[in-house]
């Protein structure tokens, strides 16, 4: 995928991964950001014009100081769509990106085509508390985020040798920047009252969830489905929270079937 840099009207400089042609699909990443390899985006780009912006604080995007609260994040999402010159794109949001995409769809329901929420954050159910991602030690991520822990570990570190102190410091700083930003809408409880606004969401919506999501379990998919009137749910086998990375084929098939 090629990368481009855009500047939003508010002044945030955003790096965007882009490939393919056809109907525009904007993919919003989760709290961990895009990984070095994102095969599901390449696959989607075979049919659509895929655009994956990185939020401020992620990768090379800057402008963290412009985003403090949920409304800032949602408006930033639309600022990016505007800066890219897109009209009524499909929005696909994973985890934190799903929370933002859902807010965007509530704020401006007529400005998108279809919505895909993938293991989306944004709701809270007392009986099913979401593990505290912000208190995780490095080794705790993979076991919570992936169906297959060992494969997940390899994906998360992306071949980086963390025994090298410089590599470790670099990783730690990038991680701190990413999670520091994510904390603005996810800490300490990843709920900024999306539920009371979901009545405004009229776009056809697909919910895609991994059956073994140990972070935001499938019970949250059911709750989203009950709150979004025009929604369908697709569960994916042998997939955890990072399902687009863990089961890219099944993920792309489900999304393509819905968008076409």
């Amino acid at each position: 995928m090629k990368t481009t840099a855009i500047e939003t009207a508010r002044g945030a400089r955003v790096r965007v991964l882009e490939a393919g042609s056809g109907a525009p699909v904007v993919f919003l990443h989760g709290a961990g950001g895009l990984l070095p390899d994102n095969p599901f985006l390449d696959q989607l780009a075979a049919r659509y014009r895929v655009l994956a912006p990185e939020f401020p604080g992620y990768g090379e995007s800057t402008g963290e100081e412009f985003l403090d609260d949920m409304l800032d994040f949602a408006l930033h999402g639309w600022d990016v769509v505007d800066a890219l010159g897109l009209r009524r794109p499909h929005l696909v949001g994973h985890s934190m990106g799903g929370m933002i995409a859902a807010e965007m769809a509530c704020v401006a329901p007529r400005d998108l085509d279809k919505l895909v929420l993938v293991a989306a954050a944004g709701l809270w159910i007392d009986e099913h508390p979401i593990p505290d991602l912000f208190s995780f030690l490095p080794h705790e991520y993979a076991q919570t985020l992936f169906h297959d822990r060992a494969a997940g570990e390899a994906l998360l570190t992306g071949g980086l040798d963390l025994r090298n102190p410089n590599a470790l410091m670099e990783f730690y700083i990038a991680h701190t920047k990413r999670m520091g930003m994510a904390g603005k809408i996810l800490f300490p409880i990843p709920n900024r009252r999306l539920a009371k606004r979901l009545y405004r969401l009229t776009a056809p919506t697909l919910l895609v969830w991994g059956k073994s999501d140990r972070l935001i379990g499938p019970v949250y998919a059911d709750r989203f489905q009950s709150l979004i009137r025009n929604s369908t749910l697709q569960l994916i086998d042998e997939a955890g929270h990072m399902l687009p990375y863990e089961q890219p084929d099944a993920f792309v098939t489900a999304v393509t079937r819905f968008l076409d």
Binding site: S135, L137, T176, G183, F187, P188
Partner: protein, 420 residues
């Protein structure tokens, strides 16, 4: 030199296998381990000790704020300070401090500190920590990346409230108040001396120097390790062209005094071990919420006392290592005097926050150590900085004539016994 007697107020009844059985001493320590009936006696024992320190001639008595914490039983240090204000009349009351970002609205801190200053007759030292990540983010739910911004705004609000003589409107990002009008106002003018306790965020240095506040370095790893950080602070002081008064800096140090070096080990080793083993058993995932520290501080790679390295070290440290490596200052009055002098000069500090009650130490041992220090150590260290002898910029300025409620109690009793 100014010596402040500090009590963290640890819970002394953590089980022997606490480290193995429990996740963390802080944040999610099960509160069934707290027994309120024992707690009743404990608060009084700890407050009695602070009052005893006043009687021994310590310059200050100190309390601090922690939440959901097995080694710090003061979610509200102001309550303890209020009790101390009534029963002491001489020592400064050092509240180090109130975590500004946790109060909503933070005008509450301006009010309570003003109350304490008035109640104590102008003896308050006002501490404004950003607060640890454990307290601020994990216990009190503040968003890590916004904590410092919120703190800065709260600081501005409190300082304006203390100094303004007219009601004013405050249109902040986190606080909107149409009428800020402090009632009561503090005795000390323009405001009580301000202490900023820091654990190693380098932005804190400039903040202290911008406002001429005291920088208090609080760590449990002792003065040999503290030197690296304070050297950085003094470099910053020089670079900013500020005078180098040692009273700009304070350091917290665990101190154990016995009649002899050997007695110190016999009396205190087990309690120090309790502290390092059980009280510092903090789950690493709570040490540093992402966004709490700035990237600049992380890049400066300053020592984090809760790093994995220290955590594993704490559980294995022997008395000899603790003493030799300067985690604690312990021994006979002579030994302690020598080490204290080395610390004071090495760090260039005018204030010592001495921790004389450690872990599960029984009352008499804490008093024994404090008394030896007050009588045989403190007098010899008074004048380490003769050229700065008159520098009282960071000390309280009490009213010359103050109410003496602690004397009133006995008078009231006698009055009550008289036949009507």
């Amino acid at each position: 030199m100014k010596f402040t007697w500090f009590n963290l107020m640890p819970w002394p009844y953590l089980p022997d296998d606490f480290r193995e059985r429990y996740h963390s001493v802080w944040v999610d320590i099960p509160n069934r381990l707290y027994d309120p009936e024992k707690g009743h006696f404990l608060y009084h024992r700890y407050m009695d000790q602070l009052e005893y320190a006043d009687a021994l001639g310590f310059d200050g008595i100190g309390v601090n704020e922690h939440h959901q914490n097995g080694y710090g039983l003061m979610p509200s240090p102001n309550l303890i300070a209020a009790g101390l204000a009534r029963r002491t009349s001489r020592a400064a009351i050092a509240v180090i401090g109130n975590s500004l970002a946790l109060y909503n609205p933070p005008i509450r801190v301006a009010e309570e500190f003003a109350m304490l200053d008035v109640l104590s007759g102008g003896r308050l030292l006002a501490g404004f920590p950003v607060g640890t990540s454990m307290d601020t983010n994990y216990c009190y739910g503040q968003i890590p990346a916004l904590t410092r911004d919120k703190y800065a705004e709260a600081h501005e609000l409190v300082m304006r409230a203390w100094q303004s003589e007219e009601p004013f409107a405050f249109d902040g990002k986190y606080n909107q108040l149409r009428y800020v009008n402090l009632w009561p106002r503090p005795i000390q003018k323009p405001h009580p001396p301000v202490y900023i306790p820091g654990g190693g965020s380098i932005e804190t240095w400039d903040f202290c120097l911008d406002h001429d506040y005291n920088y208090s370095y609080l760590s449990f790893t002792g003065y040999l390790r503290g030197k690296k950080l304070l050297d950085g602070y003094w470099e910053r002081v020089a670079k900013r062209g500020k005078d180098e008064s040692p009273y700009r800096a304070a350091f917290a140090q665990t101190i154990c005094v016995g009649e002899t070096d050997q007695e110190a080990e016999e009396l205190y080793a087990e309690h120090v071990s309790y502290f390092y083993n059980r009280c510092l058993h903090v789950y690493l995932g709570f040490a540093d919420a992402p966004g709490y520290r700035t990237i600049k501080t992380i890049q400066a790679n300053v020592l984090n006392a809760l790093s994995e390295e220290f955590q594993s070290l704490f559980s294995t440290l022997t008395w000899k290592q603790l003493v030799d490596d300067g985690y604690i200052i312990a021994g006979s009055p002579k030994t302690v005097r020598h080490r204290m002098e080395e610390m004071i000069k090495g760090l260039r500090i005018g204030h010592v926050f001495g921790l004389f009650h450690i872990g599960d130490m029984p009352d008499w041992k804490s008093r024994h150590s404090s008394k030896l220090f007050a009588e045989q150590v403190m007098p010899h260290l008074r004048d380490v900085w003769p050229e700065w002898r008159d520098d009282d910029r960071w000390w309280c300025k009490p009213l010359p004539y103050r109410a003496r409620p602690e004397e009133g109690l006995e008078a009231a009793r006698q009055h009550a016994r008289k036949p009507q």
